[in-house]
C-alpha cells in the first residue's frame, strides 16, 4: 500500500486535530530526558529539606515545636512545623521552590518551546505540515502549562511521601490556630499545589514570548531565566515598592492563605488576576511576534 492509495481519508474535525497535536506535544515534552532530570531535581528538594529537619530534630516531635519560634525567621514558611506533622513538608517544599527552582524549570521548558524547535530545524517542518502558527503557539503554551502543573505536583507528592515516611502525620493546626483533620489537610495541600501551579501561568507566557524572539533554544532559556532572576532581585529592593505590585511574583506566596481558617481569598484572587494579565499580555505579544515572523532557521 502506498500513501497515494488511501482514498478513504477524511479530515478530522478541527478540535480533534488540535487535540492530536497537543497529545503529540505532551508526548514530546514528557518523554524527554531533560524533563525527567528537571522533575528529578524538584523531587529531591523535599527529600533534602525533610532529611535536614529530621537530622536537626533527631525525630523528636517536641524538638521541632520547641525551636519553632527561633527557626521562623530563617527557613521558609511552615518549616518549624514539619517535625510535628509530615504534611507541612508539602507546604514548606512548595514555599522553598516557588521563588526560584520551580520557575527555573518552567523557564527552561517555556524558553525552549519555539526557539528549541527553530534551532533544531523542526519548526520549518511543523509549519509546512502545516501546523498553523496560532495553533502551534497555543499547543506549546498548553503543554508548558501542563509542565507547570506536573512540576508543582512533583514537589507536592515528593513532600507528601517524604513527610509521611520521616515524621508523624495526623490532625494539623492552621495558621489561624484552629485544628483541621488530616483529610482536610490533604485537600488543602492539593489546593495549594494548584494555586502554586497557577502562579506560574504568567511567567510561562513570558517565557513563550522570549522563545519567539530568537532561533536559539539556549539563548531563549537563558533570557527567560535571566528575567526571573532580575525580577526576584527587584522584589527585594524596597525603593522599588511602587513597581512591586506589577511584578509577576508579587503575590506568589499568597498560597499560604489557604492554610488559614477561614481561607483568605483576597490575595489568591489578586494573584490569579495578575497571572491572567501576564498571560494575556505576553501571549498576545508572542502571537504578534510569531505570526509574522520570517522562519529562516
Amino acid at each position: 500500500m502506498s500513501p497515494g492509495d488511501i482514498t478513504t481519508e477524511r479530515p478530522p474535525p478541527r478540535v480533534a486535530a488540535t487535540l492530536g497535536l497537543l497529545r503529540s506535544e505532551l508526548g514530546l515534552t514528557f518523554r524527554r530526558l531533560r524533563t525527567f532530570a528537571l522533575l528529578g531535581v524538584l523531587a529531591a528538594i523535599p527529600v533534602l529539606i525533610g532529611g535536614v529537619v529530621r537530622i536537626e530534630t533527631g525525630g523528636d516531635p517536641s524538638a521541632g515545636s520547641g525551636s519553632g519560634g527561633g527557626a521562623d525567621g530563617g527557613g521558609p514558611a511552615f518549616m518549624a512545623q514539619i517535625s510535628n506533622n509530615g504534611l507541612f513538608l508539602v507546604f514548606t517544599a512548595l514555599a522553598a521552590t516557588l521563588p526560584f527552582f520551580l520557575p527555573l524549570t518552567v523557564g527552561v521548558v517555556a524558553g525552549d518551546a519555539i526557539a528549541g524547535e527553530a534551532s533544531a530545524g523542526t519548526l520549518r517542518y511543523l509549519l509546512v505540515a502545516p501546523a498553523g502558527r496560532t495553533r502551534l503557539l497555543l499547543v506549546k503554551y498548553a503543554s508548558t502549562l501542563a509542565f507547570c502543573l506536573a512540576a508543582t505536583l512533583t514537589v507536592a507528592v515528593s513532600g507528601l511521601v517524604t513527610g509521611a515516611l520521616l515524621f508523624p502525620v495526623g490532625d494539623l493546626t492552621t495558621i489561624s490556630g484552629t485544628r483541621i483533620d488530616y483529610s482536610e489537610g490533604l485537600w488543602r495541600a492539593l489546593l495549594i499545589a494548584l494555586a502554586v501551579a497557577l502562579s506560574l501561568v504568567g511567567f510561562a507566557a513570558l517565557g513563550l514570548f522570549v522563545s519567539t524572539l530568537t532561533s536559539s533554544g539556549i539563548a531563549a532559556m537563558a533570557g527567560t531565566v535571566g528575567l526571573l532572576v532580575t525580577v526576584q532581585i527587584l522584589t527585594t529592593i524596597p525603593q522599588l515598592d511602587a513597581v512591586h505590585p506589577y511584578l509577576f511574583s508579587h503575590h506568589w506566596l499568597s498560597f499560604a492563605d489557604l492554610m488559614r481558617e477561614p481561607v483568605l481569598w483576597e490575595n489568591l484572587y489578586a494573584n490569579l488576576r495578575l497571572q491572567g494579565f501576564y498571560a494575556l499580555l505576553f501571549g498576545s505579544a508572542a502571537w504578534a511576534r510569531f505570526a509574522g515572523k520570517d522562519i529562516s532557521a
Binding site: 488511501i6 481519508e9 479530515p11 503529540s24 514530546l28 520549518r124 511543523l126 509549519l127 509546512v128
Partner: protein
C-alpha cells in the same frame, strides 16, 4: 490536469532581508504541472529563500507567489497539505525514532486522518526503504537515512507537489544514486516535483524542465533539452599533431581553442559551414586525424554561456 496549469507561479517575487541584502530579485518563475522541474543555481543564489517564500515560511518583500493555483502565504492551510517538502536538509527530532518523527509531523497536519496515521507512516517508511530502521532513534541515522526520513515525511499524504531542496546534499555517490532513483520513481506517478540543486548533472539526469538562478535573479527557464541546445556544440579533434591542428583550425575561424596532448577542441566558426570542410582542411594540410566530431553542448556550457561565470562560484 492540463499542461497549461502551473504548479508554481511567481510574479515579481522579491525578498530583501533586514540589513538590505537582496536575496531574490523580481523572480518570474513558472513550473508547469506534471514536470520534474530543476531549480538550479550556485549556493547563495536565492534558491532556498525562494522555496521558503513558496512554503509560506517567509514573507515576500514584494511580488506574488502562487502554489497549486492559490496565493501563498495566505492559502497555506489549504495548499500545504497537498505539498510534501524537504527544505534545506532533514531535521528530525534526534532522540525520537524515525516512526515517532513521522507520527509527530503527521499530527501537525490538521487535515490528516488520525485513524489512518499509523498505516500511512509505515507505508511512507517502506516507500523510502526505512522500514527496518523505523524503530531506531533518528540520531543513529546516517545522513542518507535522515534524507530518506525527510522524503518519507513528504510522502505521508497523497501530494500534488513535492518540493525537494538539495535532497542529495552531503550524500556519498551511492546515496545520491539511490535518492535520485527514488525521485524519478516519485515523478512517474504524475505529480509535480520541484527539485533544487547546485549540481548540474543532477538536474540533467532527473529533470524535464529547469530554471537557473544567479545572484537572486532568474537567468533562464524552460525544458532541459532546449536549455542544453542553447549551448554551442564544440568541435573536437583527436590527433598526434595537436599543434598543427590548432593552427589550421584557427586559420579557419575556430575560436576558444583548447589544446591537450592529443586533443584539440574549439567553437565552430560562425555561419552554417559544414564542419566536414574543417576536417578536409586538416587532412589537406597533412594533419593526421584520428577522430573528428562535434560534442553536444551540456547544461554546464549553457550556464557558463548565460552567466559568463563558472558554476561553483558562490553568489
Amino acid at each position: 490536469m492540463a499542461d497549461a496549469f502551473a504548479a508554481v507561479e511567481t510574479r515579481g517575487l522579491t525578498k530583501r532581508f533586514r540589513g538590505g541584502q537582496l536575496a531574490v530579485d523580481h523572480l518570474d518563475l513558472t513550473v508547469p504541472a506534471g514536470t520534474v522541474f530543476g531549480f538550479l543555481g550556485p549556493n547563495g543564489s536565492g534558491k532556498t529563500t525562494t522555496i521558503r517564500m513558496l512554503m509560506g515560511l517567509i514573507e515576500p518583500t514584494s511580488g506574488t507567489a502562487q502554489v497549486l493555483g492559490r496565493r501563498m502565504p495566505d492559502a497555506a492551510r489549504t495548499v500545504l497539505p497537498q505539498v510534501g517538502a524537504l527544505i534545506e536538509g532533514p531535521a528530525p527530532y534526534a532522540f525520537r525514532s524515525g516512526r515517532d518523527n513521522l507520527l509527530r509531523y503527521d499530527a501537525a497536519d490538521p487535515t490528516a486522518d488520525p485513524r489512518t496515521r499509523a498505516a500511512r507512516v509505515d507505508a511512507a517508511l517502506e516507500r523510502v526503504g526505512l522500514g527496518a530502521a523505523a524503530g531506531k532513534k533518528a540520531k543513529a541515522y546516517s545522513l542518507g537515512m535522515k534524507q530518506r526520513l525527510g522524503l518519507a515525511a513528504a510522502l505521508l499524504r497523497p501530494r500534488r507537489l513535492l518540493v525537494l531542496d538539495e535532497p542529495t546534499n552531503g550524500l556519498d555517490p551511492q546515496g545520491m544514486r539511490e535518492i535520485r532513483a527514488l525521485i524519478r520513481e516519485l515523478a512517474q506517478d504524475g505529480r509535480t516535483v520541484f527539485l533544487s540543486s547546485h549540481l548540474l548533472d543532477e538536474i540533467e539526469q532527473v529533470c524535464t524542465h529547469a530554471a537557473v538562478m544567479a545572484r537572486g535573479r532568474l537567468v533562464v527557464q524552460g525544458p532541459v533539452a532546449e536549455l542544453a541546445a542553447r549551448a554551442q556544440d564544440r568541435i573536437a579533434v583527436t590527433t598526434p599533431d595537436a599543434g598543427d591542428a590548432a593552427r589550421i583550425l584557427k586559420e579557419h575561424g575556430v575560436t576558444g581553442l583548447t589544446v591537450t596532448e592529443d586533443r584539440v577542441t574549439g567553437e565552430p566558426p560562425p555561419g552554417d559551414r559544414d564542419p566536414a570542410e574543417l576536417n578536409a582542411a586538416l587532412v589537406h594540410a597533412g594533419v593526421r586525424v584520428r577522430a573528428f566530431g562535434l560534442e553536444r553542448g551540456t547544461l554546464e556550457d549553457a550556464f557558463v554561456a548565460l552567466t559568463g561565470e563558472g558554476f561553483d562560484v558562490a553568489g
